[in-house]
Amino acid sequence: MDTVTLEGTEYNVLAKRPESLTDKPFTYCPGCNHGTTHKIIAEVIDELDIQHRCIGIASVGCSVFSYEFFDFDFISVPHGRALAVATGAKRMRPNAVLMTYQGDGDLAAIGTAETIHACNRGERVTCIFVNNAIYGMTGGQMAPTTLLGMKTTTSPLGRDATRIGWPIKMSEMLSPLPGAAYIARVSMHDAKHILKAKAAIKKAFRAQLEDKGFSMVEVLSNCNVNWHMTPEDAVKFVKEKMTENFPLGVYKDVWEEEKAAKQPKKEEG
């Protein structure tokens, strides 16, 4: 176990900041899940020992400055284009590990085409998709994933399906594409689910490292500020309403499929 000596006394180190995070304090709002999501991603990267091979793609939204917190090479790119940029970089550097970190507006509205086609090409990149059902940075406008009835600054009467359609389900949309290797939806509403999220993120990076194809983890998160809730109520909303609309689970698992393909087929009759 690591030890640290402070004023002559030796202490055991039980927990510390992952190597893959810089020492810059997070600038996210209190109660927001971005900080915890960054931390578990950094822990996974440490555990896989790939920090010095990682190239991060920062998108546009609350996570626009994510490159200040992750401690590896990074590029900040136009709104919605992260997976196209990741594609170009990965094709030139197949031994690098590419991660995009994108919000719902970025990935599921303005960048929908880039998302679908990166997945369909089976690009060896890992996408962390933070779904909090709202545009946080611009001040609480409706997102493609905003739930029906949810009030935002651009759906002041609540989202109405007849006018603007339904919350878009990206994990369900992408998982049938053959290029997808691993697609999972996780939630950040309690410790148990955060651990599950971390396990999913690790699998997503493994899919890239093992050259299996495209991987994405959809992370259900809260935005207590723009949801106009207390942090506690916002977490409850994720647990009860977000997971109801966006069912958690693994939508594509290439290893499970490979396993199933190896099973001897049952004789008919």
Partner: protein, 367 residues
């Protein structure tokens, strides 16, 4: 290709120039009249250790190029006018992040879908930035198949020298026509080392590299942008290129680029036989633009008038006006809709201008 001198199409020659410059990535989307670039790249870039993707859109293509360039590779995309419009967002970011790359515009007629005939309507877009914000692309304007190859090759070198995106601005005629090309002036080269700033998998033992175009504090943004402007000022001093044809004694100076500059050549040959003193100054870099060279002719005693023929309603002529001011009468002959010039389209107005340098039929005024 074993032989250095071959007969080929402009759009294909551009690819060969790119391969020789060490281009390892081409991402693009089909659009006429530049499909031969995408097709040729899809067939041959593999032989040069490169990668091709037919992207889902022009937007995706330029962003893939952004990624490839950030990763240190020499990368290129191409399109024609409507597709180039879609690439402008990406070019703005690429310019601010100082990523070297090459984009070729085989210009067709617009606005809107327009048609697939050659045109020069994208001059403003190519030379004044094009996307949002205040930036410039190094822009080269070839007028032959030879130059399609050479200027793509040169564009890669200029882009890396200055860490700036470079554009090759051509038109449908130059892209589609066939001519012999000699590649001896384009020796095979490996891309330069970019390990100082590129994103890669060798970060152990070095500081991480971050590429960004966001500075929230206006004071910081001003500093970042000043750096860019200082680079542009240097570029204007060091990289202006143009060619001259029979300008020494010219009483009428034509300033033209692209396929109209070729027609101007023919017109000059006809007029010189009649004893008329006509010459051509052809900007090769349209950004930076050869203002001083044109100004010298405007100041000279032998030049009586200046003529700009363009396949648009007057774009490059505004740059020429900035050089000429009111020192000499400035004339304009347009072609539009995708129609192309014949030598007679030029010889006739030139004869009239030489008879009366203030001939109102072609005289161009700011307002």
């Amino acid at each position: 290709m074993s032989d250095d001198r071959v007969f080929m199409k402009g759009n294909h020659a551009a690819c060969e120039g790119a391969y020789r410059a060490g281009c390892k990535a081409y991402f693009g989307y089909p659009i006429t009249p530049q499909n031969e670039v995408t097709e040729y790249m899809s067939a041959h870039i593999w032989e040069h250790g490169g990668t091709f993707i037919q992207s889902e859109s022009e937007i995706a293509a330029i962003n893939m190029i952004m990624g490839a360039s950030a990763a240190g590779a020499r990368a290129m995309t191409s399109s024609s006018s409507p597709g180039i419009s879609l690439k402008q967002e990406g070019l703005s970011y690429i310019a601010m992040m100082e990523l070297p790359m090459v984009v070729m515009n085989v210009v067709r007629c617009g606005p809107g879908l327009g048609n697939i005939a050659p045109h020069q309507g994208d001059y403003f877009q190519a030379t004044k930035g094009g996307g949002h914000g205040d930036y410039r692309l190094i822009t080269l304007a070839p007028n032959s198949v030879q130059e399609m190859a050479q200027y793509v090759y040169d564009a890669f070198n200029l882009a890396d020298k200055w860490r700036n995106p470079a554009m090759v601005l051509t038109d449908g005629t130059i892209g589609q026509m066939m001519e012999p090309v000699d590649y001896t002036s384009m020796p095979w080269m490996e891309p330069p080392d970019k390990s100082e700033w590129q994103l890669d998998e060798f970060q152990d033992g070095r500081k991480r590299h971050v590429l960004t175009s966001i500075w929230l504090d206006p004071a910081d943004m001003a500093v970042a942008h000043e750096k860019l402007i200082a680079k542009y000022d240097k570029l204007k001093k060091e990289e202006v290129r143009y060619s001259e044809y029979r300008t020494d004694d010219a009483e009428l100076l034509v300033v033209a680029i692209g396929s109209p500059s070729r027609v101007t050549h023919s017109a000059i040959r006809i007029l010189r036989q009649e004893g008329l003193k006509v010459g051509l100054l052809r900007p090769i870099t349209v950004w930076p633009f050869p203002y001083s060279a044109i100004r010298e002719y405007a100041d000279s005693k032998h030049v009586k008038a200046i003529l700009v023929p363009e396949m648009n309603w007057g774009q490059m002529i505004e740059d020429v006006k900035l050089a000429v001011l009111d020192k000499k009468p400035l004339h304009f002959v347009p072609k539009h809709g995708g129609l192309t010039f014949t030598p007679e389209d030029l010889t006739e107005p030139i004869r009239a201008i030489l008879e009366n340098p203030d001939n109102p039929d072609t005289l161009w005024r700011v307002s």
